[in-house]
Symmetry: C2
Subunit: 235 residues, 2 copies
């Protein structure tokens, strides 16, 4: 079965966590909105009608099924592609960690959009600076410290044990994104998360991920996505 | 089996979506932090150690299992207490909607804390006013319009069909919370969501929910929770 991924075609954004999972799994998929009339097709899927219209991208079409919400899509894919354990308790634990990453991603977005998604960054630069200060003072240490501790508790394996899951792929993206958006701040911070940096490197070196990152399928970071590099926010 | 719910003892907050599900199900549970040394017990469960420490409350202890993240807990409870369908596609759909409610709840919180959770509201009143304006102009119509459309598509039943799910319980809480926090704004808005208002009323009238709301187990809304009433933000 060929999956159809629907997400904004010019950013990594929340869709990237799905792309990484599909690529690692070697799954066949079409990144629908990146071709021809793909954006119109995506918007039509979201039109309120009967059925199960998603609230927002990303969403995944798998046969007849349309699944929305990043963590929910990974919950579905994880079970099918060996990217998560099948037993209920372990499956819920991995999903729980992905939901915690989801919360963190929202907080990353809020660093440049504290007054909400409708205004441009340029209209909220001063509040963005304040929010970013708190983000690096309190939130990054809390979230990444949590995942660093989990990683350490597993003796340098993966975050939930000896086998890689979609959570590890997402943590790769978190490290990569923070490096892009806040190179100076992140450089200073990385010594506090040696386990996550090592995890990042091991994920990047996996053959499927390595090939993906070098391909045109990987959209470069830019200032329309979640991780944005604004010098004013990076000290 | 008696569940143990761990959540802050003086607010409804994110724990309330779990409380409503447990109450509707008639499940036996202890609201741990509301008794004796409950808060210490909760903090100990979150201490980074081996196992599966939750990142933050709420979390639920079900036998040996400790489950965190509100929507994840409801995913677990829904399957066991007839509060969600058992078939995979329908189960994912209901979970997807709960995750969309989760996103909305974060945006509710950000109305009074746009600069982040570390500062007090009193330190961010002006940005809070701006964020709240956008929240009511763009976000409330988008989110509640989406759920209103789903409700209408089901001909006045429940949001996902003829049977009630935990999503309906959560939407009750959303309507109740917006009425508390923004009574004037919500009064004007309710004519746009007749289906959700009717759903709210039907949920409130259910025997178990009705008894719960009249009990001491229901913590009153207050200005430490997610839904806070600040006159300056309500027009």
């Amino acid at each position: 079965m060929r999956y159809q991924l629907y997400y904004w075609p010019t950013i990594q954004g929340r869709g990237e966590y799905i792309r990484l999972a599909l690529e690692e799994a070697g799954a066949a998929y079409t990144d629908v909105a990146r071709s021809g009339n793909g954006i119109s097709a995506m918007m039509r899927m979201m039109a309120p009608a009967k059925g199960t219209p998603p609230f927002a991208p990303p969403f995944l079409k798998a046969g007849q099924l349309v699944i929305g919400q990043t963590a929910n899509i990974l919950l579905y894919l994880g079970a099918r592609h060996g990217l998560a354990p099948k037993a209920e308790a372990a499956k819920l634990w991995v999903h729980q960690l992905q939901l915690t990453i989801t919360d963190f991603v929202t907080e990353v977005h809020d660093t440049h959009h504290p007054l909400g998604p409708s205004l441009y960054y340029e209209e909220q630069k001063a509040p963005a600076k304040k929010r970013t200060q708190d983000f690096w003072k309190s939130r990054v240490p809390k979230y990444l410290g949590y995942f660093e501790d989990l990683s350490a508790a597993n003796g340098g394996g993966y975050v939930t044990g000896r086998r890689m899951t979609y959570v590890d792929l997402s943590l790769f993206q978190i490290v990569e994104g923070l490096r892009y958006a806040f190179p100076k701040r992140m450089k200073g911070f990385e010594r506090k998360i040696p386990g996550l940096v090592d995890l990042h490197d091991r994920i990047a070196a996996r053959p499927n991920i390595n090939a993906y990152l070098a391909s045109h399928r990987r959209i470069p970071f830019n200032e329309d996505g979640i991780f944005r590099h604004y010098k004013a926010l990076d000290l």
